[in-house]
């Protein structure tokens, strides 16, 4: 028995090795190198980048936090950081609320309209992000649909949202809604009808059923949607690059600017690590939530 377990374990490890190796070599190693680089170490895999970069803070021995000081002391970066945090929080909130609403609508009133709404809400999944960003930009631009319709409705000074953080926010919401709706629907469909009926039978109104039964039973999907959306928005590049303003914009485009426009790869990496740390913090919530409920419902009926 014991030997069989060992053999299975070895076989399992062997089978997961290929993707883990690819990740380790092409992501893990570069990430470690990037961290070393931001701490002032320019050797090894960093030598090529370091030989071309400007305004670097390099040490031969030990580490230095000068690159971090340089970046985090930068007023422009402060504004970018705030823009990133705000857009992330706002987009995450809206995605969670809207996808909850759509999924709930579909779960409780399985009408044709509900199915159309949920069908439409996954459309962005079919559209490449580049296209999506471009479409959003055109839709909210100075000669776009929103302004044209507003004009015909008598609102001649409807703001141009294209190339503003609002457009970035709207586009991030648009891109993340499908995942939210799919997750929430899947979660809500996992709640059996008779649990809802039992609550109704006990005297609960529909809003109360939502609050006391559906909400607590759908915590995990909600956490998943919130964390994945937040991590996606934090690290996104295409959406803010195409739809956002020059400055302040999200950290994704500013990373790219530091790298290609200012030729300051070290500063770009510092930003990447700042975003990474934020994302890991959010990711920890996701893992924690999964582990926690995994324990309680291990023997669900």
């Amino acid at each position: 028995m014991r030997r069989r377990e060992l053999r299975e374990g070895a076989q399992g490890l062997l089978m997961v090795l290929p993707p883990v190796a690819v990740i380790a070599v092409f992501i893990g190693f570069p990430v470690v190198a990037a961290i070393a680089y931001t701490l002032g170490r320019a050797g090894g895999p960093n030598s090529v980048v370091a030989s071309l970069g400007q305004r670097q803070f390099i040490v031969q021995h030990g580490v230095t936090l000068d690159a971090y000081r340089d970046v985090l002391g930068n007023k422009t970066i402060h504004r970018d950081l705030w823009a990133t945090v705000w857009v992330t929080v706002l987009a995450t909130l809206v995605v969670v609320v809207v996808s909850w609403a759509i999924a709930l609508y579909l779960r409780l009133a399985d009408t044709r309209l509900a199915r159309i709404v949920s069908g439409l809400s996954v459309v962005p999944l079919f559209i490449p992000v580049v296209i999506a960003s471009y479409a959003m930009l055109v839709f909210y631009s100075s000669d776009g649909f929103m302004r044209s319709v507003a004009y015909h409705l008598g609102w001649h000074s409807f703001p141009t949202l294209g190339f503003t953080l609002w457009c970035v926010f709207l586009a991030e919401v648009w891109v993340n809604i499908p995942f939210g709706v799919l997750m929430m629907s899947s979660g809500l469909n996992g709640v059996p009808n008779n649990l809802i009926e039992a609550a109704r039978d006990s005297g609960a109104s529909m809003p109360r059923v939502v609050r006391s039964i559906l909400l607590p039973m759908n915590v995990i999907p909600t956490v998943i949607v919130a964390t994945f959306t937040a991590i996606y928005v934090l690290g996104s590049f295409t959406v803010p690059y195409l739809t956002g303003p020059t400055a302040p914009n999200l950290l994704g485009p500013s990373m790219s600017n530091f790298f290609s426009a200012f030729n300051q790869p070290q500063q770009a990496e510092v930003l990447a690590i700042v975003v990474f740390v934020l994302a890991l913090g959010i990711g920890a919530v996701y893992v924690w939530a999964n582990v926690r409920t995994g324990k309680r419902s291990a023997v669900a009926p």
């Binding site: 883990v20 190198a33 776009g144 044209s148 015909h152 295409t238 770009a268 999964n290």
Partner: protein, 276 residues
């Protein structure tokens, strides 16, 4: 699934609800429809709601531009290669994650996701060093790898969830009647998990098809794919041409996703994101 209770009984709430649904519909498909109109528009001035003239000039321009058509061809070469490679690497791993107990199982499952939390731009900058030293810059393989790493998470997670959803007793029953482990996998396990694997492969195809920054960084100047070209187009070409190109780029995605729509809506994608 019908627990049909009226959601909003009062007229006021009903109006609010219809407003919500209405604006949602405009928000979700308005941009795509508007972009579609752009692709066929000649003269179109603000604040007209429809173009004054219709034309297919944009389309002609795209198909006559050798750069653009070449990038289309390239995109269709990379995506299948990446998908197959990703499946070959990840599916055994997905099976192992769902069926075997081994030390560090959960840690590895989570790390797959954790490394993906590192922002892509930052990753590509430092990855360049590795690619230089391995002579992967501006090579076909280099582009495949850079696109591949974006597909690993869902190529592992989604099939792993599907394997876990198959009761072990089904496999054991097949073993019982004398099928070997490989035959059990291909005759029992694989067919049952096929929809989820299919979803993962389509997503992988599209991820590769849409990947732009990494491809640009590694592939330039030899390998410029459609989405990479799109960045240039948005900035340098007339709006109409960009719209046409955008629609073309969206076509395979729409077709492929329509193929797996049923499974995606049925929760195959969602299941992949619950850690077990």
């Amino acid at each position: 699934m019908s627990v049909s209770f009226a959601l909003a009984r009062s007229a006021g709430r009903r109006v609010l609800w219809f407003l919500f649904v209405g604006s949602l519909i405009v928000f979700m498909i308005g941009p795509i429809v508007w972009l579609g109109l752009r692709a066929f528009s000649g003269l179109w001035l603000y604040p007209q709601l429809l173009p004054k003239q219709w034309t297919v000039n944009g389309w002609r321009q795209v198909f006559n531009d050798p750069n653009l058509s070449h990038s289309m061809k390239l995109s269709f070469e990379f995506a299948p290669v990446v998908t197959v490679a990703s499946a070959a690497i990840c599916l055994p791993a997905a099976y192992a994650f769902s069926r075997y107990k081994f030390p560090g199982r959960r840690f590895l499952l989570i790390s797959l996701f954790a490394v993906n939390a590192f922002p892509k731009i930052g990753l590509y900058i430092s990855m360049a060093g590795v690619f230089y030293s391995l002579n992967l810059m501006a090579t076909f393989l280099g582009v495949v790898i850079v696109q591949l790493i974006g597909t690993i998470v869902f190529m592992t997670w989604i099939p792993a969830a599907a394997f876990s959803a198959i009761p072990r007793s089904l496999e054991e029953a097949a073993r019982d009647v004398g099928a070997g482990p490989l035959r059990v996998f291909f005759r029992v396990t694989f067919p049952l998990a096929a929809p989820a694997i299919f979803v993962a492969m389509i997503l992988s195809f599209l991820a590769s098809f849409d990947e732009a920054q990494g491809t640009f960084l590694v592939g330039v100047p030899k390998y410029i794919t459609m989405p990479t070209e799109m960045y240039t187009l948005v900035l340098n070409y007339p709006e109409q041409v960009a719209a046409v190109f955008a629609l073309l780029l969206a076509v395979p995605s729409v077709l492929l996703m329509a193929l797996v729509r049923k499974h995606v809506m049925g929760g195959k994608l969602a299941e992949g994101f619950q850690l077990r």
